[in-house]
């Protein structure tokens, strides 16, 4: 999966507008990036990429790129 496809997946998962994210977007700047949003991303990483992301790990992520890198 390309980074563009992963970005699209994240946007859909977080119910954001298409093309609203890029690798350098700060997670803090994403509207409603709360515990529920983090939980949806944790589930996404498991479902789509088979990777288990812990709550502690995701809290340390700063940019969208950190999620993309984790997805691999």
């Amino acid at each position: 999966m390309t980074n563009k496809e992963k970005l699209k997946l994240i946007e859909e998962t977080l119910e954001l507008e298409a093309d609203s994210l890029n690798e350098e977007t700060n997670l803090e700047d994403i509207p409603k990036y709360d515990s529920m949003a983090r939980l949806t991303l944790i589930v996404l990483c498991d479902d789509e990429f088979g990777k288990l992301l812990s709550g502690e790990q995701i809290k340390k992520f700063v940019k969208v790129k950190d999620i993309l890198d984790f997805m691999g």
Binding site: T13, L14, E15, M36, A37, L39, I42, V43, D46, G55
Partner: protein, 206 residues
């Protein structure tokens, strides 16, 4: 809180803020529960003579079911009422999301009754609890009405947007469900949501 012959006590899970409601009568000889995520409710029931007859689940996300097994220790025969889709969450730590919170939870009991729209369950003499299907937050979400009380789970939390981002969530279904719920609310209705305080229909219309 009391309305007619029905008394409702609220308990809160302090970590996840999810509500558990005990439906009972003045002397608390019997009781039904709406969700069971709050350990304070288990503590309250321990040593009391209240006979819990069953639990009505609004949906099976972990924060609403976490204490089901503790309840089983106290009342081995109680029945769990849940939607067909919600039943899957009782037996899957990934579907109920507890897996992702490092506290995996799976229900040990088997007395599960599938509940769906328009079902009516008599909770005491001539007082029925009505089941309304309100998918959106989750495909298996149910809302319950009993007397003046309306238990909306996470399908409607006054002042909050419905969360539809989680797996199985559907924003369009949520809008339809919200419309159904709002149509049921009268000024005297007591809305008991899945999180937050009990609100009256009157205050919501102001």
């Amino acid at each position: 809180m009391k309305a007619g012959n029905l008394k409702v006590k609220q308990f809160v899970n302090h970590e996840f803020t999810s509500n558990t409601f005990l439906l009972t009568e003045e002397r608390e000889s019997w009781g039904w529960l709406i969700d069971i995520g709050a350990s304070d409710c288990i503590r309250y029931l321990t040593g009391k003579k209240t006979e819990i007859k069953g639990v009505f689940l609004t949906h099976s996300h972990f924060d609403h079911i976490l204490e089901l097994n503790s309840l089983l220790d106290l009342f081995p025969d109680f029945a769990v009422y849940v939607s067909e889709s919600g039943k899957e969450g009782l037996y899957s730590e990934k579907i109920n999301l507890s897996f992702y919170h490092e506290t995996p939870f799976i229900f040990k009991g088997s007395n599960v009754i599938i509940s769906g729209g328009k079902d009516q369950i008599e909770i005491t003499d001539d007082l029925f609890l009505n089941v309304i299907e309100t998918p959106g937050h989750n495909p298996g979400c149910l809302t319950y009405s009993a007397g003046k009380f309306l238990f909306t789970g996470d399908s409607y939390i006054p002042g909050k947007e419905v969360v539809t981002k989680l797996k199985g969530g559907n924003i369009q279904e949520s809008k339809t469900s919200l419309s159904i719920i709002r149509n049921m609310i009268k000024p005297e209705t007591l809305i008991c949501p899945g999180h937050g305080r009990i609100a009256t229909g009157k205050e919501l219309s102001e």
